[in-house]
Symmetry: C2
Subunit: 370 residues, 2 copies
C-alpha cells in the first residue's frame, strides 16, 4: 500500500486557501471578469510596467532555451533598487515563497522549532510544517490594535529555535512592528529572524530595515515583485541576508526557477522608475481614499495601515464569510480572513484599487453594510 | 553563531552544475550569442510555438494579478495531450523539478531511502539529499551499453525504500529501459516508482508508459514542456499518477508557482498541433543526421538513442572537459558529462540542432577531433 509510505505530516495536512482570481469568481458567479473589482490580493491595481511589452517580445524567440540560472543584469538592478550589494542577494521564483522554503531547507531538521506571531501570512506555517518544524505561536495582540506582543516571542525562544517570522507591515493587520522591538528580538537569539518586507515600499522610510540584513548575521529580509512592482502574476521575490546565509541558500536553490519572461519583466520594471514612483504615490493616495471612505461606516472598524491594504472588522451582524460573499455577488473580491489562524471570524482585508474602482467599491459597500 | 543552526546536509552540499546558457558562453568567450550553436541542454532547436505571441500580449495586462492556482483550460489541454484524466494530473513550475520535490515532500522523512541507478539526471539525488533521504545507488551498466542493471535496483529494496527513480529514455545515455524490466520493479515493491518521461515523445510509441500511472497505485510518470514542446525557458512540467498520490501532492504544492506567461504559453503550445508534429518529425530527422555524422569519426563512440540527444565517448586522448572546451572556443555548447555521477570523464552529450546548425557543428567537430 502506497498509503503506508506517505509522511504523517502530509496525511494531516490541509491545503493553503489562496485568494481568488477574477477568472474563478467570474465563472462561479457568472460575471464579466472585466467588471470585477479585485481588492483581495494586495496587488498593484494599475497593472504592470508598460516597458515590459517590447522586451518580452524580444525575449520570446528564446522561450525554448533554459533561462540563465543567475541573470547578472537582473541581480544588479535588484541590488540597486534595494540598495544592497549583489553578494547579499538571492532571487527566487514563486514570489517570496521560494525564499521562505529555502530558509526552511537550510535550517530545519525534524523537530526544530520556529516562532510565528499570529495572525500573519499563512505561508510561513505551511512551509515550516512541511519541513518538519514544530511551530510555537506568538501573537499580534488583537486587544492592543494588533501590536506585536514582544514577550510572546521572547518567551518562546529555546535552543531549538531556528527561525522567527516577523512580517512588517504585517499581513493582514497592516501595522508595522516598531524597530526597537525587532532589534530586541534579533539581539536575543542566534536563530534567524526573517523580516518580511513584502509591503515595505508603502511604509514610512524609517521602517525599512533592509540594511539590517547586512548589519546582523542572523537576519533575512524578504521582498517581492508582487506588490507595488506589479508582477504578482510573474512570481518573483528576493531575500537580503549575510553572505553566509546567502551562500547556503545558493547551494540548494532550484537552478532555473525564474522563467525567461519573468526575468525580463522584472528588469524592465526596475528600469521604469516613473512606473514605480507613480504606482507608489497613487497607491498611497488610494489607501487614504478607501480608509477615509470606510471610516464613515459605523458598522465597520478599519485599522490604521502602512501597507496597500487594510484590515476591517465587520460589526453589522454578519461574519466575515457572509460579508465577503455579499460583496462577491456584486462583483467585489475582498479577502475573507477566516483562513488566518488567530483571528475571530469577523475580519476582512481590503486592498487598494484604482480611484475609479474605489468609488464603485464604496458605493457597493454602502449597499451591503446598511 | 548562525552557522551552528545550519543543517549538516546543507553544510556538506555542493551546488548543482547546470548546462550553460548562450548568454554565459557569449560573455565568457567574447562571442556573438546569435552565432553560438547550443547543443548542450536538450532543447527544441526550432524555438517555441509561433501561436504564443498573440496570447502572451493579451495576457500582459494581467501580469500584475496572481495567476490562477489551477488553470482549468491548461489542465484540460494537458489531459488531452497526455491522454489521461484531469484527476490524475499535477502541473508544476520549474520544469519537472517541482514535481520531483513534491514527491520527496510527501514521502521522505529523515533516514528514508531512495534508489537511483546512475548515470542519470542529477536532480533526483539533489532533491532526495536535501529532503533527508539516504541514497542507494544502482546502475545503468557501462559495460552493457548502459542497459539498466535490474538486479542492482531490486537487491537494494528494503522496508525503508520510498522512491525508485527510473529515467526512460535515460539522461544522459539516451537508451530506454525495457518495459518488462520496469514492470518487474513496480511489482516488486510498494515504494513509488518514478518514471521520468521527459523525452518520451522522441521514443517509439511502445515505450510510452504514461498509462501505467493509472494502472498501478505506486507509479508516477513525469513529463515536461522543456523538450519537444519548446518551453524550457518557461519552466513547466507535470506528473501523472494515482488520484491518491495526486491528492497528497496537491495539499502541499506551492499554490502559485506557474506564472501567467507560462500558463498561457503552455496552452498556446498544446493547441498548436502543427508545431508539435513538425518539431517531433524534424527532431527525429535531426537526431539521425547527427548520429550518422558522428559515427564517421573513429575517435568518437556514439550510443543509440531514443531521445533528442546522444551520448558520445571521446577517444582521441582528450578528457570530456578538454573536448567540450575546444568546442566552446569555436562557439558550440555540448554537455560535458563530468558532473554526472557514475560516468568516467570521457563522455559528452550532444543535443539535436537545426539542420543548418548540425552541418556547422559536424564541420567544427571535424576540426576538433582530427
Amino acid at each position: 500500500m502506497i498509503d503506508d509510505k506517505i509522511r504523517n505530516v502530509v496525511k494531516e495536512f490541509k491545503a493553503y486557501v489562496p485568494g481568488k482570481s477574477k477568472e474563478e469568481i467570474a465563472r462561479k458567479y457568472n460575471l464579466n471578469p472585466e467588471t470585477i473589482i479585485k481588492l483581495g490580493s494586495n496587488e498593484n491595481p494599475w497593472g504592470c510596467s508598460p516597458m515590459i511589452k517590447d522586451r518580452l517580445l524580444e525575449e520570446l524567440p528564446k522561450f525554448s532555451q533554459y533561462p540563465e540560472s543567475i541573470n547578472p543584469i537582473l541581480l544588479q538592478e535588484i541590488a540597486d533598487f534595494a540598495k544592497v550589494p549583489k553578494e547579499n542577494l538571492i532571487v527566487g521564483g514563486d514570489g517570496a515563497d521560494e525564499v521562505i522554503d529555502l530558509i526552511m531547507r537550510i535550517l530545519i531538521d525534524e523537530g526544530d522549532e520556529v516562532i510565528i506571531p499570529i495572525p500573519t501570512f499563512t505561508q510561513y506555517a505551511i512551509s515550516a510544517k512541511i519541513h518538519g518544524a514544530n511551530i510555537k505561536w506568538a501573537k499580534y495582540d488583537e486587544k492592543n490594535e494588533f501590536k506585536l506582543d514582544v514577550n510572546s516571542v521572547l518567551s518562546q525562544i529555546t535552543d531549538k529555535t531556528k527561525v522567527i517570522f516577523l512580517c512588517t507591515p504585517n499581513n493582514p493587520t497592516g501595522n508595522i512592528i516598531p524597530n526597537e522591538d525587532i532589534k530586541k528580538i534579533i539581539e536575543s537569539t542566534d536563530a534567524l529572524v526573517m523580516i518580511d518586507h513584502a509591503y515595505i515600499e508603502y511604509s514610512r522610510k524609517e521602517y525599512d530595515l533592509t540594511d539590517w540584513a547586512l548589519k546582523y548575521d542572523n537576519v533575512l529580509v524578504l521582498r517581492t515583485f508582487s506588490k507595488v512592482l506589479g508582477l504578482a502574476g510573474q512570481r518573483i521575490g528576493y531575500g537580503v541576508s549575510s553572505t553566509k546565509i546567502i551562500d547556503y541558500m545558493m547551494r540548494i536553490r532550484p537552478a532555473f526557477s525564474l522563467t525567461r519572461a519573468t526575468q525580463i519583466s522584472a528588469i524592465a520594471t526596475l528600469q521604469d522608475k516613473e512606473f514605480i514612483y507613480k504606482s507608489l504615490d497613487d497607491g498611497i493616495r488610494s489607501r487614504e481614499m478607501i480608509y477615509e471612505g470606510i471610516k464613515q461606516f459605523k458598522e465597520l472598524e478599519v485599522y490604521p495601515t502602512e501597507a496597500n491594504y487594510m484590515l476591517i472588522k465587520v460589526k453589522n451582524g454578519m461574519n466575515s464569510s457572509q460579508f465577503a460573499e455579499e460583496l462577491l455577488k456584486k462583483g467585489v473580491i475582498v479577502r475573507d480572513c477566516y483562513s488566518f489562524t488567530g483571528l475571530e471570524p469577523y475580519y476582512v482585508r481590503v486592498s487598494i484599487g484604482t480611484f475609479e474602482e474605489n468609488e464603485r467599491f464604496l458605493k457597493i459597500l454602502k449597499e451591503v453594510v446598511e
